[in-house]
């Protein structure tokens, strides 16, 4: 099957068996790959009501039809599982080099089921598959484990690991790869941990079959040449995503003090220039990327000497602004601690910021934490609490379940500033004065994450006071951006470089032989959007509209200072946005897809499950 490796690898950790079966043609034809495969396989294979940490949950890993091929940004990988954070749909993607490696080994999907009776890692060397003991790695950091596996197996192996946080089933444990790239969101690292699966090591030597190798080479060359000729092709790279820090402050959308406000006065000490001038060692690219956003850094101080990839923008926002760590060195250090522990740095910074605000308000008292303090701005407190969380010690054990669950335990109004949607913590954009961005967070299928729809420039360009047209644009973006996660391509060429979307159907044809327009491809993405919604409806009791609201802080508290001072989004505005969004999506007032909508997007097979949920 052109563009695909042609096989699915299924591994059962309970029985220690595996099988390699041909990739079903209809799966490729209807769900493309990556996120599409993850969503469909989850729907089909994980039994309804499965415990996210039980043997019946599955970790599903999938590269896409364009992954590993000669074109810009072809190095993304999708991880999926029933999420312990949302209780429903969960996925997360990662760059680096492991996605192409899985295809060169011969696989379009890896399905991992069951639970091993002792710590293991999955060894994949082309079709040589082994479940190997990992007792010596268990308890070790994610980065250290990668180092040890590379020493053991050779540098040609690509490795994905979890840290202690994953082992201890922290609900925002990530999967780490390539010394600093993470599949961070929705707690799939914890699902790996629940399976006693410490790592996956992959090496492959096979060729990806192409419909037209000559056309692919020529089209790929044109695409790279077009990238090289874009304005500012090289000028953005030195700072990477960290370069946006000043701008997010300028528009008053920078998460600060657990999203109390949108402007951090010391942002220039943690911005891209600070990173570039003070700590960067090298630019570090994912496979086939001409504009590497990865910055590899070193910080050497009396207290520590660390190497870390980053901090990238999200980490700067959630560690730097949200917990007020006001210098790039300590941000990098906190980033390193989270990476080694295997904690998602978005949720990690958000949860620590939440705990700091609880301490500030007296909800967490000094006596609850052995007489110490938990103060905004303290990197020592940040590091201490991160470790307590990763090892589920003391109050860390409560916070390890994320801000939604911790607020239920703490009470005293803390749920108003538990900044999440659907149990997944908010990423790096304060949205009280950005209606399209607010709606993006509210309706993202994986909770409060920006990568399904990032609409802040749309908000600015079309007026942040206007609601008209916002829902429509969010829906468009929710089809465009996740489509990249189905093809398993990076979207930075498009967003950051201005690379035209028309290129992708052209190379798609050369690679797969299938002639599809960009709009045809977007239809696949809409199908998957409705499928992930349906999955969460199936799995979460009472799921629907009430799960699509932002925290009370954003609906009740005006931003106190900075460029967006006074702004907030009252519930009636939120409701207006949701009403319009559901209507345009063909969903009912409770956010449930109509029978007609399901049929329209080719999801007739979910109707019998969804029908009883409609009122």
């Amino acid at each position: 099957m052109n563009g695909y490796a042609g096989n699915i690898l299924r591994v059962n950790l309970t029985n220690r068996t595996h099988s390699i079966t041909p990739l079903p043609q209809d799966l490729a034809d209807n769900f493309l790959g990556g996120r599409g495969f993850v969503a469909k396989l989850m729907w089909d294979e994980i039994p309804p009501g499965a415990d996210p940490f039980g043997p019946e949950n599955k970790v599903i890993i999938s590269p896409g039809p364009l992954t590993g091929v000669f074109l810009p940004g072809a190095g993304k990988l999708e991880f999926g599982a029933k999420s312990p954070a949302t209780g429903g749909y969960g996925d997360s993607n990662v760059g680096g080099h492991i996605s192409p490696e899985i295809k060169y080994a011969g696989f379009d999907a890896i399905i991992i089921e069951g639970i091993a009776d002792e710590p293991v890692y999955l060894f994949i060397d082309d079709f040589n598959i082994e479940i190997r003991p990992a007792a010596e790695l268990w308890g070790k950091g994610a980065l250290e484990s990668e180092t040890l596996l590379k020493q053991d197996l050779g540098d040609e192996f690509q490795i994905a690991t979890i840290g202690p946080a994953g082992e201890n089933k922290v609900l925002f444990a990530c999967i780490s790869h390539d010394f600093g790239r993470q599949a961070g969101r929705t707690g799939i690292g914890a699902v790996m941990g629940s399976k006693n699966l410490k790592a996956i090591a992959v090496h492959g030597t096979k060729t990806i079959q192409l419909a037209d190798p000559v056309a692919t080479l020529e089209k790929g060359k044109e695409m790279f040449a077009a990238c090289f000729e874009k304005p500012g092709f090289e000028e953005w790279t030195p700072q990477g995503t960290a370069g946006v820090t000043d701008w997010v402050n300028e528009i008053g959308a920078f998460p600060t003090r657990n999203f109390q406000t949108g402007y951090f006065p010391k942002h220039k000490d943690i911005n891209g220039e600070a990173l570039m001038r003070k700590i960067k060692v090298t630019d570090k690219a994912c496979y086939s990327c001409p504009i590497p956003c990865g910055k590899y850094s070193r910080v050497k101080k009396a207290e520590y000497d660390i190497h870390v990839e980053g901090p990238e923008y999200e980490t700067i926002a959630l560690i730097g602004g949200n917990t007020e760590i006001d210098n790039i060195e300590d941000c990098a250090y906190a980033n390193y601690i989270l990476d080694e522990l295997g904690l998602d740095s978005i949720s990690g910074g958000n949860v620590v910021g939440f705990a700091m605000e609880c301490f500030e308000k007296g909800i967490i008292k000094s006596e609850d934490i052995s007489g110490r303090s938990l103060k905004f701005g303290s990197v020592e407190d940040f590091v201490w609490l991160s470790q307590e969380i990763a090892y589920r010690r003391g109050i860390g054990s409560v916070l390890a379940d994320g801000v939604r669950e911790a607020a239920k335990v703490f009470g005293q109004g803390s749920e108003k500033f538990a900044i999440h949607v659907k149990g997944v913590e908010w990423s790096g954009y304060e949205a009280r004065y950005a209606p399209a961005m607010m709606l993006s967070y509210m309706t993202a299928d994986v909770g409060a994450h920006h990568n399904r729809s990032w609409a802040i420039t749309f908000d600015v360009a079309t007026g942040r006071d206007k609601l008209e047209g916002k829902a429509q644009r969010v829906i468009e973006l929710q089809h465009i951006r996740p489509l990249f996660d189905m093809l398993c391509l990076c979207r930075l060429q498009w967003v950051e470089l201005g690379f035209e979307l028309d290129w992708y159907p052209q190379i798609f044809k050369a690679v797969t032989g299938k002639e599809l327009t960009w709009d045809d491809l977007l239809a696949f993405s809409e199908r998957v959007w409705n499928l992930t919604r349906s999955y969460s409806l199936r799995e979460i009791e009472g799921f629907g509209r009430s799960f699509d609201y932002p925290p009370a802080r954003f609906m009740e508290e005006p931003i106190p200072d900075g460029p967006t001072a006074g702004k907030y989004m009252p519930k009636e505005v939120i409701d207006r946005l949701l009403d319009e969004y559901y209507k345009l999506r063909g969903w009912d007032n409770n956010g449930i897809p109509s029978a007609a909508q399901l049929k329209k997007v080719g999801l007739g097979f979910v109707e019998s499950t969804i029908a009883p949920l409609r009122k």
Partner: protein
């Protein structure tokens, strides 16, 4: 054209390996690229790219004269090669590439595509004739 490198510019994207294999084998398989890109991580955190400098050490040890020089470039005739791999161990830069699906090793023929398409200009023509596309 003489290939040279500036490894401090390399970001490890491996575009060079993919285009090399796709150009020469019509296969999308960077494992068949005739050069090496290595990342030294987690410490010190640098990339190293190594290209053939056409020194001819491979030709010197080839028992069947499958590697011959023309205009300063050593070309491997894959039909003549018997796969003894003597050249692989003789290569001082470790850039005679072995791939399990190929009986002959894989050798650089100085085509320059890696120079034209390295996004970072980490692989260069020391003579300055071949340049990255758009330069």
């Amino acid at each position: 054209m003489r290939l040279t490198t500036e490894s401090s510019r390399c970001s490890g994207c491996k575009v060079c390996l993919t285009i090399c294999a796709l150009s020469h084998f019509q296969e999308n398989n960077p494992k068949k690229g005739a050069l090496k890109v290595e990342g030294k991580f987690p410490v010190p955190g640098v990339f190293e790219v190594t290209v053939c400098n056409q020194c001819g050490a491979c030709a010197d040890v080839c028992p069947v004269d499958a590697i011959t020089e023309k205009d300063g470039v050593y070309i491997l005739d894959r039909e003549t090669c018997i796969g003894c791999m003597a050249c692989v161990s003789a290569c001082p830069l470790n850039v005679m590439i072995v791939h399990p699906a190929e009986t002959a090793p894989i050798k650089c023929d100085n085509c320059g595509d890696c120079v034209r398409y390295c996004p970072r200009e980490a692989i260069l023509d020391a003579d300055g004739i071949v340049k990255r596309i758009g330069r």
